[in-house]
Symmetry: C2
Subunit: 296 residues, 2 copies
C-alpha cells in the first residue's frame, strides 16, 4: 500500500469535516472563531483522527460514521496545544512554523479559544451520537472514555507533572507518566473510539488499545529524538526547545543510540499487538513503521 497517498486521502476527508464542524470565521464574536480556526487549520498531521478512522476500519466499521468523533479528537489535541504554548506554560512563540495562538490573538483569546474547542469537541460527539439511533450507548461510552483520557488523570495530569518537572532531574517512572498521560492517553483513546464506533469485539478493542499504548510510546520517544536531531524547519519550532526548559527526555536519560533502540522496540510491540488482524490491520502496521522513519 502507498501510505503517503493514504494519509493524503484521510487528511483531505478530515480537513473537509473539520471545516463543516467549526463555526465560520465571521461568526460573532469573530476574533474567537478566527482564533479557533487559526490553530485547527495550522497544518497538523491529523495523526489522532487518522488513527481513529483506521481503528474503525480495522474492525470493518464505516469510515464516514467515525469522522465526527475523529475530528473531535483533533480539536481536543488542538486545544491542548494552544494552552500548552501559553506564556504561563511552555511560553512558545512558534508552532508548526507559525506564531502561536496567543501571539496572534492575545492571551485571553487564546485561553478562551482553547476552552471553546474543548467544549466544541463534546458538542460534536453528542450531536453525532444523536444522529445514530442504534448507538447511543456507544457514544456515551466514547464521551466517558475520551474525557477520562484528557482529564486530570490523563492528558492534563501529564501537563501538570511536565511543568512541575522543568529544571528538575526526574526518574524514568515520572518521564513515563508524563508521556503516557500527556501524549499517550489521547492516542490510546483515539484508537479505542474508532474501535468502539466500528463495533469491534472486546478482544479487538483490547488489541487496538494495546497497539495505541505502544504507538504512543514510540511517538513520544521519536519526538524527543527529533528535538535533538531534527532541524527547526522540519519541526516548525526551535530545535532544543525542550532542552531550553531543561525538560527530561529519553535522549537525556538514555543517550541517543539506546533511545533509537527503545523507539524501534515500541514500534515492534505495536505491530505485534495487531497479530490477530489480517490485511485490515495493514494501515495501522504501516503507520507504526512510518513513525520510526519520519524526518530522520
Amino acid at each position: 500500500m502507498d501510505l503517503k497517498e493514504y494519509l493524503r486521502n484521510r487528511q483531505g476527508k478530515i480537513e473537509a469535516t473539520l471545516k463543516d464542524l467549526l463555526p465560520a470565521k465571521d461568526t460573532y464574536p469573530e476574533i474567537l472563531h478566527e482564533a479557533m480556526g487559526y490553530s485547527v487549520f495550522a497544518g497538523g498531521k491529523r495523526l489522532r483522527p487518522i488513527l481513529c478512522l483506521a481503528a474503525c476500519e480495522a474492525v470493518k466499521g464505516s469510515l464516514e460514521e467515525a469522522l465526527p468523533v475523529a475530528c473531535a479528537l483533533e480539536i481536543i489535541h488542538t486545544y491542548s496545544l494552544i494552552h500548552d504554548d501559553l506564556p504561563a506554560m511552555d511560553n512558545d512563540v512558534l508552532r508548526r512554523g507559525k506564531p502561536t495562538n496567543h501571539i496572534v490573538f492575545g492571551e485571553a483569546n487564546a485561553i478562551l479559544a482553547g476552552d471553546a474547542l474543548l467544549t466544541l469537541a463534546f458538542q460534536i460527539i453528542g450531536e453525532a451520537g444523536l444522529k445514530s439511533a442504534h448507538k447511543y450507548e456507544t457514544y456515551l461510552e466514547i464521551i466517558k472514555d475520551i474525557s477520562i483520557a484528557v482529564g486530570s488523570l490523563g492528558m492534563i495530569g501529564g501537563q501538570v507533572v511536565d511543568i512541575l518537572s522543568e529544571n528538575q532531574e526526574i526518574d524514568l517512572a515520572t518521564l513515563k507518566y508524563i508521556h503516557q498521560s500527556k501524549t499517550g492517553a489521547l492516542i490510546k483513546t483515539s484508537l479505542k473510539s474508532g474501535a468502539l464506533l466500528g463495533a469491534g469485539s472486546k478482544e479487538q478493542v483490547r488489541q487496538l488499545v494495546l497497539y495505541g499504548e505502544y504507538l504512543g510510546l514510540a511517538f513520544q520517544i521519536t519526538d524527543d529524538l527529533l528535538d535533538v536531531l531534527g532541524n527547526a524547519e522540519k519541526l516548525g519550532k526551535p530545535v532544543g526547545s525542550d532542552n531550553k526548559n531543561q525538560k527530561s527526555t529519553y535522549p537525556n536519560l538514555f543517550g541517543i543510540e539506546k533511545t533509537k533502540e527503545l523507539a524501534e522496540e515500541a514500534v515492534n510491540n505495536a505491530v505485534r499487538a495487531l497479530q490477530d488482524f489480517g490485511s485490515e490491520g495493514d494501515v495501522l502496521r504501516s503507520l507504526a513503521e512510518y513513525l520510526l522513519i519520519r524526518e530522520n
Copy 2:
C-alpha cells in the same frame, strides 16, 4: 415554604455529591486536584445545580437522578470563574472572599484546573448517562445542549465580548448579548437539563427555559446593582471591581432606580412563565423573588 431551609437542604445534597464526584485532593498530581477542589468548595451559592434539581422536580422527576448533571453544571460554572479571574482576563485576586485560584496555585495550574473541571463535567454526564439505560438519548441531548450553552456561541462568546468591551462604551444590544451569553446561557441550560432529566413535556421544557431566560436576566441586573450598592464583605470581592475595569453595566446605562425596575420586571416575567405549573412550581417562583431581595 421556607426557602432558606430548602436551599440549605439542596446545598447539602449538592456538596455531598460534588465530594463524591471530584477526585480526592491527594490524588496524583496533587496540586492539580487541590486546585480543582479549592475552587469547587469555595462556598458558592450552588444556584445552577439548585435550578437544575428544581426544574427536574417541577416536572415531577427524581431529584436523585438529576444530581450528577446538576453538579456537572456547578463544575462548569467553577471552571469559568477560575478562567475569568486569570491575569489575562479580569485579573481578580479575590473571589468569594478568598484568594483566586491562580493566586494560590499559580497561573499554569489555574488554567489546567479549569480545563480539568470542564472535562470532568462531561465525564460525569457521560457516566451518569451510562447508568440509566432507558435515557441514553436524553443524556446525549443534555451534552449537546450544555456544550452549546457554554461554548463559543454561548458562555465563552459572552466572555470574549465582555473583555472586548472593557473601557468601551457599549450599547444595550451588546450588554444584553454579554449577559445572555456569559451568565444567561448556563442558567437556561441548567433548567432545561433538569426538565429533560425529569422527562418533562415539550411545553413544560419550553416554559422552564423561558423562566430561565428571565431569571438569568434578573440575576445579572441584580449582580450589577450589588456591585454598585453592595459591600465588599457581602460580595467577597472589591466593590466596584466591574467599574474598575470600566465595564458597562445596567446602572451605568440606566441609573439605579430604572435598573431596580428592570430587575423587578424580569422577576415578574420569570414567575409568569410558570403559570401552568401548580404547587410543584413554587420553589422556582420563590427562587425568582428571593433573587430580587438578596443582600439589598
